[in-house]
């Protein structure tokens, strides 16, 4: 994906989503819609931030970015669903957790961190390789020399 073309639309879209989540968030009942809308905001930023040489590697998008977004969205939907379903009553527990909290622990907390972190560590060369960094430094040194003239 060519992020040079996409970053403008992503910045505008995420800004609209910031405003939308603010207005929706004024009503407590909309919290779960806001949670779902927060996923593309974070996804948009991470897509721009992790692009390499202006391009988001397809493989890096398919893992870890996409699974991270899916895990989070499912986690928020599950947390909301079970919180409503078992409101005011003692629920059946999953590994000792309230099912709603279980979704948060497995998806949002551990799922989020380990999906993103494992992908980042194992595929770091697609984020930036030693050659990318060396090339960058050479280009900057050349341009800085021209600027200083």
């Amino acid at each position: 994906m060519d992020m040079r073309k996409l970053r403008g639309p992503i910045i505008i879209l995420t800004t609209i989503l910031w405003i939308l989540t603010t207005v929706l968030g004024w009503n407590n009942d909309n919290y779960w819609i806001c949670l779902i809308l927060s996923v593309p905001i974070m996804g948009g930023y991470v897509m721009i931030g992790t692009s390499n040489n202006g391009v988001l590697n397809k493989s890096f998008f398919l893992y870890p970015i996409l699974p991270f977004m899916i895990v989070w969205a499912l986690s928020f939907i599950g947390a909301h669903y079970f919180a409503v379903k078992y409101a005011g009553v003692v629920p059946p527990l999953i590994l000792g957790f309230h099912p709603s909290l279980f979704c948060i622990v497995i998806g949002y907390w551990l799922g989020g961190i380990y999906t993103l972190l494992a992908g980042f560590v194992t595929k770091h060369n697609q984020w930036m390789s030693a050659q990318d960094w060396d090339n960058y430094k050479k280009k900057i040194q050349k341009l800085n020399a021209e600027t200083d003239k």
Partner: protein
Amino acid sequence: MGKYAILAASLLMIVASFAIGYWGKKKADTAQAYFGATGIFGPFATGLSTLGGIVSAFALVGVNGLVYNTGTGMGLWMLTAVSGPFGLMCLAKKVRAVQEIAPLSSLGDVTDVIYNNSRIIKGVMSGILALGCLAYLTSQISAGINLFTYLLNWPPLLSGLLIFGILAVYMTFSGEVGGVMTQVFQGVIMVIACIALIISFFVITGGFGGVIEAVSKVSSVTSSDGSITKEFTPDMLNAFGTAAKASCFAWIFIPIVGSIGQPQSVTRMYAIKDPLDIPKTALWFGVTHVIVGFASVVIGYGCLYLVATGRMEPLAAYDSAIFAWGEYAGPFVQLCVYIAVLAASMSSASIYLSVSATALSRDLPHALGMNLTDKKQLRISKISMLVIGVVAVFFTLYAKEGVAILGTFGWGTLMTATMPTVMLGMFWPKASRRGVEIGEVTALVLNILSLSVIKWPGSLPWYYNVFAITMLVSVACSLIFPDAKGANRFEKQLEIARDL
């Protein structure tokens, strides 16, 4: 015995921090090193120092108190270990790349490169950063003082000067270099203490199942003198507890996305020596944050369990939850509680002291047109660091109203200073100097007006509104007032840095 062990361990930690900070003096030999620790540290140090900066005393004292009060809700804030990897993936290589374009010592230097030395952006951003960091600094000092006064009955001024006076002295010697080195030490202490707290939770409660079983069995518990009643509902242990749901949304989203805009994480992005180590930095931060965050949350659940089963009286003050837990769990766990809270308050205080001192003594004067030599800047900043550190102790103790006002600023305030400037500038070539200037002025005005004049609707934290408007204004005004081509002498370099 317990009290003296805690005192000895605390004094040992303060003395060790001083020694490490003083040792860092050797490395703080240039303005870049002193102000920014630029390009000096490896992944372990940057990861742990980011943890030390981000996990404040509130994270260990306030969060579990609120979990005790309303259930999971506020705990969501501490389950955001992904914030570090997210922020580092998004922004670290780009910020580090700017260091190759021009030497960086502060966040103001980063915006100088991106926005062609805009004095408005540098000045307003420094002002907001100073407000937010002083707010955090006073709250760390307050927590540290309460810790010693509660346990040892020491006069507050003595406790304050002992902990934070010494901290100000070693920060004066070694600046950000000493800051990073001591935060690593304090971060390690915090992680070890938190592992002990987690084990104590499982030993005492038997796990989350035990907690929910206990909380479900009773509807309320009243203290023996009848003055305090704690009410229980199974909903406390669902994902959101009984807190306002819109606040829960913000407590999930803001800590993560805001990690791109916190000075304690952005400054560490240019402290990294080799940018190829950034993924390892994320690993160190992520894993250690999981431990500290989990410890903070489970202590709140643990106190719910103890009160529901009648083993502890209902708490008179929510933020005493972690101390009550330590008292119940025995001398060793109590020692871990005090050490962890002291480490959290010292590590956060040092980063907030250095960022506010740099903003006030270096970036703000520069924005006002005062160009000083490196040598003079260093001298002024060293004096400022010491003065701000000591004055902050007196301010915390004797200007309670001022501290309360400052306490309103925090994470969200810092986001409004840094995200629209650094993140937007590095993500989007169309972020214009004029657009971001208008955005930053809007942020400053709205941050101040939100103290008393503006009452935002709903239960979203006020800063959420301020941040969303700041982003909208920055983006819209950048489109309306674009930069002229060639206006920034680093335009070509920035384009390559954005693509990196």
